[in-house]
């Protein structure tokens, strides 16, 4: 199969060449931000680091982190580096916890973004001959417009259908012959279920590939959406603080990791507790520095997403590092007897045990000076047996699998369905009773 690139030279640079571009851009960025943004300057001064201290890429670690609160503290435009007359668009994240975060783009930023989104779509085998069905929401959210302009830049035909009105979306897919679906994975499943209700056979559509992102989704969900919609599903990653969709993208050749567009975004993996940069290949919190953004560049932004960087060469020919599918959020991380535990890891064990996504809850207590963890699992019909020994074997297996994966001993309890507390339909995954 032919490999198609959007910007072949930048996507296949040898690492040394890439790093020299990154360093040049980084030094330029740090100097500019130090000069123009008072809050950045204050933080760097407090850390005792000057722009000229950045002599190599490893000097990046000397710069202070930027966190979501920095954006909130400087709401709405306090971290912009250019006068507002040069900002031609703003986006904002929903403010579910406190003030929203606002980001801005110059004309050149929007051109860069469209180019990177076109690059991302090309990774998924999308070409100018495609009919792109864009179900990402249009508005303050970066998804809709970000994907839209990338698809236009690519030269494909864009259907700006946005979210909602699922039946009409299916009619449009049938009548217009949509070949590519851009949506959140949960909306893709919603489309599939509605098709089933309407008796529409996905095989009768022209859909070939789905580019899904903007929310975490598991490998099981990928299989489900691929099967139900009869398409290939690929993962796209982005966040508004860094740019929007198109920060990294899975290629068609591998389903293991998304290529980070490193000529524009410099990734690091850090220990979420100590802030220390971790060696290549280790799992930790993903941190991004933008290298080319004008209006709203960001230095060492802590994404709170847990991932791992993969430096192996990819079959597709791209030399860009890959980031593993985000497996959790640092917000959810628990430290049990010195071990980092993510609810998603427990979920992984449970799914591997019974092949179903079970309802579960982690309960952490401190007995004396010792942390204890219990895992409550709601008994589904698939795992239930009329024989005690089978249920006991099941709890033992889960216990052993968790111990193997995390090195933490826990007690597994089977509980009746619907006994785990839910808020707004979502199960509460963790109860931490420790008073620390």
């Amino acid at each position: 199969m032919d490999t198609l690139f959007w910007e072949e030279e930048m996507e296949t640079l040898p690492r040394a060449g890439l790093e020299s571009i990154q360093l040049r851009r980084l030094r330029h960025l740090v100097a500019r931000v130090y000069k123009t943004v008072a809050p950045y300057r204050a933080k760097m001064d407090a850390a005792g680091v000057k722009p000229e201290d950045i002599q190599s890429l490893s000097d990046l670690a000397r710069l202070p982190f930027t966190v979501k609160d920095d954006l909130r503290d400087n709401y709405p435009f306090g971290l912009f580096t250019v006068p507002m007359e040069e900002v031609i668009r703003v986006h904002a994240s929903s403010g579910t916890t406190g003030k929203p975060t606002v980001v801005g783009y110059t004309k050149k930023d929007l051109e860069t973004w469209a180019g990177l989104m076109a690059r991302a779509l090309t990774c998924a085998g999308v070409t100018r001959r495609d009919m792109i069905h864009n179900s990402y929401g249009y508005g303050l959210f970066t998804g809709g417009l970000g994907a839209h302009y990338g698809a236009e830049r690519l030269g494909a035909t864009v259907i700006p259908v946005s979210g909602g009105n699922t039946k009409r979306q299916i009619t449009i897919m049938q009548d217009f012959g949509s070949t590519v679906l851009l949506a959140t994975p949960s909306y893709a499943l919603n489309l599939a279920d509605t098709m089933a209700d309407l008796g529409v056979d996905p095989a009768s559509l022209s859909l070939r590939v789905g580019v899904f992102g903007a929310e975490p989704w598991s490998e099981n969900m990928r299989e489900e959406v691929e099967r139900k919609l009869n398409i290939k599903a690929v993962d796209i990653y982005g966040l508004s603080e860094v740019m929007g969709p198109g920060v990294s993208m899975e290629c068609l050749q591998t389903s293991h990791g998304m290529h980070i567009f490193e000529d524009h975004f410099l990734p690091e993996i850090i220990d979420p507790d100590t802030g220390e940069v971790l060696p290549p290949g280790e799992q930790g919190e993903l941190v991004f520095t933008t290298l080319t953004k004008e209006a709203f560049p960001i230095i060492r932004y802590r994404t709170k997403d847990i991932s791992r960087l993969i430096y192996d060469t990819c079959e597709c020919g791209r030399t860009l590092v890959r980031m593993e599918k985000v497996t959790g959020r640092t917000d959810d991380m628990l430290i049990i007897r010195g071990v980092n535990v993510f609810p998603s890891q427990i979920e992984h064990v449970l799914m591997g045990t019974e092949g179903v996504e079970p309802h579960y809850q982690l309960i952490v207590n401190r007995e004396g000076s010792l942390d204890t963890m219990a895992v409550d699992v709601e008994v589904s019909e698939q795992m239930f047996s009329d024989e005690v020994k089978h249920l006991e074997a099941l709890t033992r297996k889960i216990q052993v699998d968790i111990k193997d994966l995390l090195g933490v001993t826990c007690k597994v309890r089977l509980v009746e369905p619907r006994t785990i507390q839910r808020s707004e339909g979502k199960a509460q995954r963790v109860i931490d009773n420790r008073k620390i």
Partner: protein, 143 residues
């Protein structure tokens, strides 16, 4: 000669058993036999009822995890030796008992033993060869 049995998952908390029997009674379902297998952490309630499909639905609607398994019902004289003779022929055939429970029919003359074996097919053959009286689900309900 298999009988359908309903098994229900129970957490060890008080009142659950009463809720289940009340729910079934409310739906007009008759419980012919019942046993609870207990561990420190959970229990499994096993029931023989006159309407398996409806009982299953009632319990599922009530939020319980329900399973249906096949068991074997053997009618013996309610006098000492009935159980022993069954176990003897099962043992001779090299079959293991996973669990068992019993109830006495209304007349009080005969006992009905409910068994789950590790090899149900061979158990049926062995019991038939031993000329034991195996009951069907319908027969149990008409006792």
């Amino acid at each position: 000669m298999r009988v359908e049995q309903i098994a229900v998952f129970l957490e060890n908390k008080s009142g659950r058993l009463a809720e289940i029997t009340a729910a079934l009674a409310g739906a007009g379902i008759n419980i012919r036999a019942l046993s609870v297998a207990d561990t420190a952490d959970f229990g499994i309630l096993r029931l023989i009822v006159d309407d398996v499909a409806r009982a299953r639905q009632v319990l599922k609607d009530g939020g319980f995890t329900v399973g249906i398994t096949n068991v074997i019902a053997v009618e013996v004289d309610d006098k000492s030796g009935g159980l022993a003779s069954v176990l003897k022929s099962i043992d001779q055939a090299g079959i293991n008992v996973e669990y068992m429970y019993a109830f006495v029919n209304k007349s009080g003359e005969n006992a009905v033993l409910i068994f789950r074996f590790d090899d149900m097919d061979r158990a049926i053959t062995a019991l038939q060869e031993g000329r034991f009286s195996l009951l069907s689900g319908a027969q149990i309900c008409s006792l």
